[in-house]
C-alpha cells in the first residue's frame, strides 16, 4: 500500500475535530518523535485510515467508520500541540 502524507487526511480530521489537525504537532507514544500530523505517514488504502510516525513506524491514529460513526483511536499519541486559534481581544 502506498504511503501518503497525513495532509491527505485533512478533510476527514476536520470533519471529526472541527479544525485543521494537519498543523497539530504530535508526540509519538512509541518513540517520542515530534512531527506535524500533516507530515506523518498516511495509509488510506485499507479499511479505515492509519497515520503512522515516520521515525519509528508506530501507529499514531486509526480512524474507522462503524455503523455510521467515526471511531478514532489516538493511543499512539502521547501529546498534541495545536497552534492557538486567533482570539479577538475581548471587551469594548
Amino acid at each position: 500500500m502506498d504511503e501518503l502524507d497525513g495532509n491527505g487526511a485533512a478533510g476527514l480530521l476536520q470533519e471529526i475535530f472541527g479544525s485543521d489537525m494537519t498543523v497539530a504537532v504530535a508526540t509519538c507514544a512509541s518513540c517520542g518523535a515530534v512531527a506535524p500530523i500533516g507530515a506523518s505517514g498516511l495509509y488510506a488504502g485499507g479499511p479505515g485510515m492509519v497515520i503512522r510516525c515516520r521515525s519509528c513506524g508506530g501507529v499514531l491514529v486509526v480512524i474507522t467508520q462503524v455503523r455510521g460513526r467515526h471511531c478514532v483511536d489516538l493511543m499512539g499519541i502521547r501529546a498534541l500541540d495545536m497552534p492557538l486559534q486567533h482570539v479577538a481581544p475581548s471587551g469594548a
Partner: protein, 228 residues
C-alpha cells in the same frame, strides 16, 4: 472546464459561501452512487487565494472518482465537496523563500497554485521549479509556465519520451540533478515536493541529504493509485 492534456482536466467550481483558500490546500470530492456506495478523493486546489476555486484532475484508469471528473462531468453538474482543507502543505507570502518547488507529473497542481499566489501577491521571492514528467504531453500548464515570470526559473526533465530539439533534462530526478539545479542548502530554501509516492520519497530524501532542513521540506504524496 479546460482540457490540459489528454488525461487531465481543470474544472472550475462555483461554490456558494466558499470561505476562501490558501495556495496548496485541497478539497475532497465525494461521489455517491444510486445504491448509496460512495467514494471520496482529495484534490489539490489549482488556483491561488482569491481566485475562483478550480481543481485539476488526472484520469487514473482504475480510479473511482477521476474517470467521472475527467470524462463524464459537464458544466452545470453539482458535486459534493468538502474544503478547503489542510494547512500543512501551504505557502503564503509571509513564508518567504527562496522557494524550491519539485513536481512529479500532476504533482504540479498545488505548486502551480503557489506560483500564482506569489504572482498575485506581488512577491519577489526567488523560485526554482523542477518539473519532471514522463512525456511532453504530461507537462500540465506548460504554456502558463513558459510565460515570463520574473524571478522564477523553470527546469523541465522528461524521463521517457522527448520531442525533437528538446533542450531540457532527459533523466530522472536524483541527487546529482538536484545538486545541479536546486538552491544550495546554504540559502536556507523552503521546499515543496509533490508527486507520486516514490518520486516524493526520493526527492525529499535527497534534499535532506544535500543539507536541506527536514522541517523546510514539505511533501505531498499522492500515491501510485487512487486520489489526485
Amino acid at each position: 472546464m479546460t482540457q490540459e492534456t489528454p488525461a487531465v482536466r481543470t474544472i472550475g467550481l462555483d461554490v456558494p459561501s466558499w470561505p476562501g483558500h490558501r495556495a496548496g490546500q485541497h478539497l475532497d470530492v465525494r461521489l455517491t452512487a444510486e445504491d448509496g456506495y460512495s467514494a471520496e478523493r482529495s484534490y489539490s486546489i489549482a488556483s491561488a487565494a482569491g481566485e475562483p476555486v478550480a481543481i485539476t484532475v488526472e484520469r487514473l484508469d482504475d480510479g473511482e472518482v477521476s474517470p467521472y471528473l475527467t470524462e463524464d462531468v459537464s458544466v452545470g453538474d453539482q458535486l459534493e465537496i468538502r474544503g478547503p482543507v489542510g494547512g500543512y502543505f501551504v505557502w503564503e507570502t509571509a513564508d518567504g523563500g527562496p522557494l524550491l518547488l519539485v513536481a512529479g507529473g500532476s504533482g504540479i497542481v498545488p505548486l502551480r497554485a503557489i506560483l500564482r499566489q506569489r504572482e498575485h501577491s506581488g512577491s519577489d521571492v526567488p523560485v526554482k521549479l523542477l518539473f519532471s514528467a514522463r512525456t511532453p504531453s504530461e507537462l500540465i500548464y506548460r504554456d502558463e509556465l513558459d510565460g515570463r515570470h520574473d524571478g522564477v526559473e523553470i527546469i523541465y526533465t522528461l524521463t521517457r519520451e522527448r520531442p525533437t530539439g528538446w533542450t531540457g533534462y532527459a533523466r530522472r530526478v536524483d541527487r546529482a540533478l538536484l545538486a545541479e539545479t536546486a538552491w544550495p542548502a546554504g540559502k536556507n530554501p523552503l521546499a515543496y515536493v509533490c508527486g507520486p509516492t516514490n518520486f516524493v520519497e526520493t526527492v525529499a530524501g535527497e534534499l535532506v541529504a544535500l543539507g536541506y532542513e527536514p522541517g523546510r521540506v514539505k511533501t505531498e504524496r499522492f500515491g501510485g493509485t487512487g486520489g489526485r
